[in-house]
Symmetry: C2
Subunit: 209 residues, 2 copies
Amino acid sequence: MNALKRKCQAMINSENLQKQLSFLTEIDELKQILRQTVLLKDLRQENDAEHSWHLAMMVILLSDYSNDSKMDVLRTVKMVLIHDIVEIEAGDTFCYDAHDREQKTEKEREAAIRIFGMLPDEQANELRLLWEEFEEMKTPEARFAAAVDRLQPLLLNFNTRGHAWLKHGVKRSQVIERNLHIEKGSVELWEFARQLIDDSVRKGYLLDG
Amino acid sequence: MNALKRKCQAMINSENLQKQLSFLTEIDELKQILRQTVLLKDLRQENDAEHSWHLAMMVILLSDYSNDSKMDVLRTVKMVLIHDIVEIEAGDTFCYDAHDREQKTEKEREAAIRIFGMLPDEQANELRLLWEEFEEMKTPEARFAAAVDRLQPLLLNFNTRGHAWLKHGVKRSQVIERNLHIEKGSVELWEFARQLIDDSVRKGYLLDG
């Protein structure tokens, strides 16, 4: 590389780094977005950053249970790390509220364009496409990401004796319907989830019906 | 596979899954371990799970700045996701307190054996070795993980006008000494960090000296 090319590359790198750090600063806000699920120790509401970290740990540890043995673990980890970032603008929606769920799609799509758009073009595209892929739940990575995204709140609900379920009057049939997706990502995790749901009803953590 | 082999495999899978889910439930506690750095919006103390998520995002977005172009991104992401898990037992130590830092090494080593030991053997070993590798800061992955682990609190400190630095009376020379490691992971990120530190002193976010 000659001197001019090196100088240009340094300027491009510096501009890219500024964009990346602005984005990384902006997403600090994910730590403020509260979910309905509560933490085991103090029953405070979990936030999206904590939830995303927990999902990434699940992907790393449970990837062998994916229905597709060729699933790309890094892509799946990226997906769960970024899957809620749009909620910085669009907010969290309780998953058992059907009306809110429809409304939020458009808001989230706009948020994805704005927030991921803060990054250099290539990364902006990569993350926006990854987020869309997650939402569409068609690839092995997106299906497994969706599976752990459902399973994690089940674990927290079970281990807090159904705190969020009972508070919102959620019923077994709603939990089954909402979490059926798990099976598309992992038959084994879905089998476990079903046992957990049955057990929750037996123990009075979840309403029958 | 014959029927008996299949049955055995199913039993092994089921036992492994129980261990993995116990571990994943145990580490919910990481969301309770508070750090000294505060969040941008409300100046509340960040917890280790939020911090680990933020580092994973940094690895994904900034890996091109690694001094080693062959760095394995997935291994580095795993490292930052798990690097603080030992603090569930050993607690967080403010990085500018030298005395505490020495004491904590042994406590953390014991914690690593106990906590990662909850997992099936293969994963227990993998995570314990990854954590040790992170602590030793000798491989490209460990050096880059250490670099973002230093850079993230710098970003939060700068963007909260030096909140934690001023509270603890931290000086520029301490910040330089503590963060020099960044250079071993990424010359470019260290250059940026130095500018941020200089700027912080100029703006009164960090004590000179």
